[in-house]
């Protein structure tokens, strides 16, 4: 252990601001990168799922229409 107390650790021998600035910025940037990667992944999946749902709905609607059309012609 290089530091005697927490305040000495935070002060970093007088260079606390610079050390904590660089660690803080690094953590912030990496956290943002991780979060954006995760949310991108989720969004992509949601997007694909949504499109799938839309396709199924369209297909059902088309079938319904066809059924109705055939019923109409029978009348």
């Amino acid at each position: 252990m290089q530091f005697d107390s927490i305040s000495a650790f935070l002060a970093m021998g007088g260079y606390g601001f610079y050390v904590w600035l660089s660690y803080g910025v690094s953590i912030l940037v990496l956290a943002l990168l991780v979060l954006s990667s995760l949310s991108n992944h989720k969004k992509t999946k949601q997007h694909i799922a949504q499109r799938q749902k839309r396709e199924i709905k369209l297909r059902q609607a088309a079938e319904l229409q066809k059924a109705q059309a055939s019923a109409d012609t029978r009348l």
């Binding site: 290089q2 992509t44 694909i48």
Partner: protein, 252 residues
């Protein structure tokens, strides 16, 4: 030989699942190594006799700078293999790497500035290494911007790949020219400070940090690679099945 071994990974489905398998392991390793490394660097590593505790920035700055260049090289290799052997997946991995590389370049620049302020007295000097790192950031941003400008992701991958290759040919020229320009305009006095010979009790935490960051990068590449693969194969049956299955488990 190599082709036989590589062949299954040319299949998007296999490589998607493969990336999914290494992802948790890399994440675990990254968490372990980074926790140990950062604690070691902040608490137990000795302060530099000349630079004092600012030397603790070194454990972030140098791995980030090394990785920023390494990732660019990896991206260029991926781009080359996608252009030469028409590997679509190489494209996806190149696209996955660009934002990660840009982030690490940014970190290297910021930590470099924060280290430079107490040591050199200014946030920024037009030092050769700083300048070429800044230009590297521009190159990354260009690749990302080009990638985002295309609607069709496989076209985007090809275009960004060409740019990455042009950049990697230019990078040594830029680096050389900047170094030369720098020595011309100011004596290489301060840049010596950045690279002291390291003692063992500084080298080990550095190595642990570096391995941690490397695992972190691998994990992120896997994650982003999976996203890219899904994006490119969104109409394939296996993707539809996968998404539908996940939707079910979420609903339940």
């Amino acid at each position: 030989m190599m082709w036989k071994w590589l062949h299954p990974y040319a299949n998007p489905k296999t490589s998607y699942h493969f990336a999914g398998k290494i992802l948790p392991w890399c994440t675990r390793l990254a968490v372990i190594f980074l926790t140990i490394g950062v604690t070691w660097a902040l608490l137990f590593a000795p302060a530099d006799y000349q630079q004092g505790d600012t030397f603790r920035i070194f454990y972030l700055h140098v791995p980030a700078a090394m990785l920023s260049m390494g990732i660019y090289l990896g991206m260029a290799i991926a781009a080359l293999s996608s252009l030469v052997w028409q590997l679509k997946l190489a494209d996806a991995s190149a696209a996955a790497m660009a934002p990660i590389g840009a982030a690490f370049t940014f970190i290297a620049l910021v930590t470099g500035a924060a280290w430079g302020k107490p040591m050199w007295g200014t946030w920024w000097i037009w030092d050769a290494r700083l300048t070429s790192e800044l230009i590297l950031l521009f190159l990354y941003l260009g690749v990302i911007a080009l990638h985002n400008a295309f609607e069709d992701k496989s076209l985007a991958g090809k275009a960004a790949g060409i740019l990455a290759l042009v950049g990697v040919i230019n990078l040594p020229i830029i680096k050389y020219s900047v170094e030369w320009w720098n020595t011309l305009h100011q004596g290489a006095t301060v840049s010596k400070l950045g690279q002291p010979s390291m003692s063992a009790d500084m080298f080990w935490p550095f190595l642990v940090c570096f391995i941690g960051f490397a695992c972190f990068v691998t994990a992120l590449i896997c994650l982003r690679f999976r996203t890219e693969v899904l994006n490119r194969n969104s109409m394939r049956p296996w993707v539809r099945e996968l998404v539908a299955n996940e939707g079910k488990t979420h609903a339940v």
